[in-house]
């Protein structure tokens, strides 16, 4: 897991609309990267739905919320529509999980996806806070995010 104070590795991934998005696009703003195992799994759906409900409060604290998983951007679009969310979802698809690996979130084979990991990157591009779930089946409630932002 990447450490607090380290430089957050830059990346360029496609969002749910196929547009390229880089971490450096968020320079000067805080961004909360939400690594999760995969679209359409029950737990991932719950996690992103709950976060969506408090997204205005997260944004009100000057933080952009961004989900990252190994799914394709086509899947992200369908997942976003199914959940009724507008959170940006980035596709860590090819090379598979490269960004998750760079942040120390990737779970190797036989799993082959990111663990549930939250990484808060500050406006200077440094890691300000992290949280890693004990296993992919558990996700941190939104309270944990607000604790970190307080």
């Amino acid at each position: 897991m990447i450490g607090v104070g380290e430089k957050a590795p830059d990346f360029t991934l496609r969002n749910q609309d196929g547009e390229k998005v880089s971490l450096s696009d968020y320079a000067g703003r805080k961004v909360l990267l939400v690594f999760y195992p995969g679209d359409f799994s029950p737990v991932c759906g719950d996690q992103l739905s709950i976060y969506q409900e408090v997204k205005p409060e997260i944004e009100g604290r000057g933080v952009e919320l961004v989900g990252v998983s190994v799914d394709s951007f086509f899947a992200h679009k369908a997942f976003q529509e199914k959940l009724g969310i507008d959170t940006t979802l980035l596709s860590d698809f090819e090379p598979k999980g490269e960004v998750a690996r760079a942040y120390g979130s990737y779970l190797d084979a036989p799993l082959g996806f990111a663990n549930r990991t939250l990484v808060l990157v500050d406006g200077d591009g440094r890691v300000a806070w992290t949280h890693e779930s004990p296993n992919p089946g558990e996700f941190p409630g939104a309270n944990v995010i607000f604790d970190a932002l307080s």
């Binding site: 737990v43 759906g45 719950d46 996690q47 739905s49 709950i50 969506q52 409900e53 408090v54 409060e57 009100g60 604290r61 959940l83 009724g84 969310i85 996700f139 941190p140 409630g141 939104a142 309270n143 944990v144 607000f146 604790d147 307080s150």
Partner: protein, 159 residues
């Protein structure tokens, strides 16, 4: 700015929605649009002891949830909260406004008052208060059931 950081669930208060008898019992954060909640509701209702219902509508996932929670709250202002909740969970295919009016009539509610109350800011604030207390307690899916303020994992539940 609203504090949504970690906090234990609030103790049962005088304006909580409570059914059953006793001091202990369960506190459930539930979404009236959630099929898992509907599936668990019958078992929760059949348990002996006190049951406290707290609102936890996840609107992005269940777009009708805010309206259903508001309807339950408005029914509660006329003493029919749990009748509305039972009915909404018991017939999930009838959740549009005409169905809510039909239920209100069935329960003998003053329909004009029901309409005013379910759209009022105090009703929205009451629902929001429950939701925010659930967020602060780490509710991460519904139904979230607490026994003496401790969240029960799915495997620990009998319903």
């Amino acid at each position: 700015m609203t504090d949504l950081g970690s906090a234990p669930i609030p103790p049962v208060g005088s304006d909580d929605h409570v059914t059953g008898e006793g001091d202990g019992g369960l506190i459930v954060y539930a979404d009236l649009g959630c099929p898992r909640c509907a599936g668990a509701w019958g078992g929760l209702r059949e348990r002996p002891g006190r049951l406290v219902f707290r609102h936890f509508p996840v609107a992005s996932k269940h777009p009708r949830s805010p309206a259903l929670h508001a309807a339950a709250e408005a029914a509660g202002l006329q003493g029919r909260f749990f009748e509305m909740v039972d009915s909404l969970y018991g017939d999930r295919g009838r959740v549009d406004d005409p169905h809510l009016w039909s239920r209100a009539e069935e329960f003998g509610l003053d329909l004009d008052r029901f309409e005013t109350d379910r759209r009022s800011e105090p009703t929205a604030a009451r629902i929001r208060r429950d939701f925010q207390s659930g967020i602060r307690a780490g509710v991460a899916g519904t139904p979230a059931v607490f026994d003496a303020c401790t969240l029960l994992r799915d495997r620990e539940r009998e319903f």
